[in-house]
Amino acid sequence: MSGEAKEIRCAGVAKTWAAETPRAHKALRDVDLEVGAQEFVVLIGPSGCGKSTLLTVIAGLEAPTAGAVYCGEETVTGPGPDRSFVFQEAALFPWATVADNVAFGLRLRGQNKAQRRGRAQELLERVGLQEAAAKRPAELSGGMRQRAALARAMAVEPDVLLMDEPFAALDVQTRARMQQYLLDTWRATAATTLFVTHHIDEAIALADRIVVMTARPGRIKATVPVELERPRDPRDPAHHELQDHLVDLLRDEVDKAFVQQEGAAR
């Protein structure tokens, strides 16, 4: 079934951390979100609004407190390789070589060494890391690690790719190149992609559609289609208009989130 891009649907998803304890903490409420098959959706919102929480719920790593997530026809009940995840920290296994990291999901499926090596090489070439196959993660730069993590997530031919601020820790130049690698990969595989960032420019560079979330507890505030030709030029006036629009949408939410966090810190 893998590799055939399914749509993701969240219906009335809510998530309260530590529910039914005195420390109960509402992160999401009433999230209705659809990501079409092969669509590239970017999720933006103020920090702490529940973006990561939503992604882990869609991945099946956490169960929603209310509502449901559907992947294609099926209800999500747990994690699975049809929905792979790229985390903010690359989280490559330090004990394994880059190639073994990339082939990790294939090993779990019982593929033999020769099969895994061939496939890993292919994937590493796509992200420009063929030279690094035998290295260990500690020998790679931040950008290289993140590309290896992307290759690892794509190795299992997921229907859906979930990415949680994967480029947040990278410098501006590396980030631009990484976005290019990601778009190339996305085009080659056509996996349904949900990408979280808090950079407006990154959202505009990547998305078919940008979904803006409110301050915590997060809900969907607005959906903004990006109808610009790729590759996108940041100097395009339409780009600026979109930027202004998103800044306006976010401003109130960022202020609210700031007040919340100040309050919590006190």
């Binding site: 882990t56 991945a59 099946g60 790593l61 994690p79 699975g80 390789p81 929905r83 792979s84 995840f85 985390f87 920290e89 989280a91 296994f93 330090p94 004990w95 394994a96 990790f104 999901g105 090993r107 779990l108 499926r109 420009g128 030279e131 260990r136 993660p137 500690a138 020998e139 690892r152 997530a153 299992v156 979930l162 190149r177 290019q180």
Partner: protein, 302 residues
């Protein structure tokens, strides 16, 4: 932009590679110099110590019957056979006994005990970490037994296993088992949640999670605890040999005591020191080979 993507990608790459090669050369030379300097200081330190000792003997300050200088007690190595002709234990030990054999049997017992301890505590520690029932049933007892000195177990071990290798190995095993089990439990707690989540989103079952993520993640830490406990284990095996085994370096100490032979005592001490040092070297090399990704390991392996 006049450069294509491909060129952009290779340019910094090549520069990086050249830089790395240069810095590796410089690095190797610095490391070599540092190593030479260390060896130099070791030689100087030992010469001062031994020279002082020998000089005190030559000047008549030290009585060679109580504090024989190295050249005298090292010569004792030729006479070792006589001390073992009548001891209990391996019948072959008689006059065939050699210093090397004593070192090897003591070292072998320590390594066997450490190895069994490593594997057992990994298994028990994982079982406790991963299952609530095992934790509740085993942890209180383990915590209670942990502070009993392994030496206190020795009579039990001899009653149980008789005289020979087994009680010594068992005592070493006990000396590291509890602490390494607790170390495993704490290492499992520290395994990054993201590693486990990565495995789960790639389709890992619970047992694959344990085998492919948790075990490789905790092994290096548990091995560090093993290395830290080497010298404790080394002491334990000498005492076990002195009391309940009848062969090995520990027995050499007892023979020296029983015969009031200072030469033999100092010879035994020297052999114990050398063997202990070599054991540490062996474990350090193993750590380097087995866990080359650990911080601080790459530099010295390069």
């Amino acid at each position: 932009m006049s450069l294509s993507d491909g060129q952009l990608a290779t340019l910094p790459h090549r520069a990086l590679a050249q830089g790395a090669a240069r810095s590796r050369r410089v690095f190797t030379r610095t490391v070599l110099l540092a190593r030479l300097r260390r060896v130099g200081w070791t030689v100087a330190s030992l010469s001062l110590f031994i020279g002082g000792w020998e000089a005190s003997w030559a000047l008549g300050v030290l009585d060679p019957l109580i504090m024989p200088p190295p050249h005298i007690f090292l010569a004792e190595i030729a006479n070792q056979g006589q001390f073992f002709s009548s001891t209990v234990g391996e019948s072959s030990s008689g006059s065939n006994f050699s210093a090397v054999q004593a070192m090897l049997s003591s070292a072998g017992r320590v390594l066997a005990g450490l190895f069994i301890g490593f594997v057992t505590s990994l298994v028990v520690g994982l079982a406790i970490s991963l299952s609530g029932i095992t934790r509740n049933l085993a942890l209180p007892t383990i915590t209670l037994l942990a502070p009993i000195s392994p030496i206190a177990w020795l009579p039990v071990a001899v009653l149980f296993f008789g005289i020979g290798n087994a009680p010594a190995i068992f005592t070493v095993f006990l000396g590291v088992f509890f602490i390494m089990t607790l170390a495993t439990i704490s290492a499992v707690e520290q395994v990054g949640a993201t590693y486990v989540n990565v495995a789960r989103t790639l389709g890992a079952t619970r047992s694959q999670e344990v085998r492919h993520v948790i075990i490789p993640a905790v092994m290096p830490q548990v091995f560090v605890v093993l290395r830290i406990n080497l010298f404790a284990a080394w002491m334990v095996v000498l005492i076990a040999e002195a009391i309940g085994v009848g062969t090995g370096l520990g027995q050499l100490i007892i023979a020296a005591r029983n015969t009031f032979n200072a030469d033999l005592a100092f010879l035994a001490m020297t052999l114990i020191g050398i063997t202990g040092y070599l054991l540490d070297v062996v474990l350090r090399q193993m750590q380097r080979r087995l866990f080359p990704w650990q911080p601080g390991m790459q530099a010295s392996a390069a």
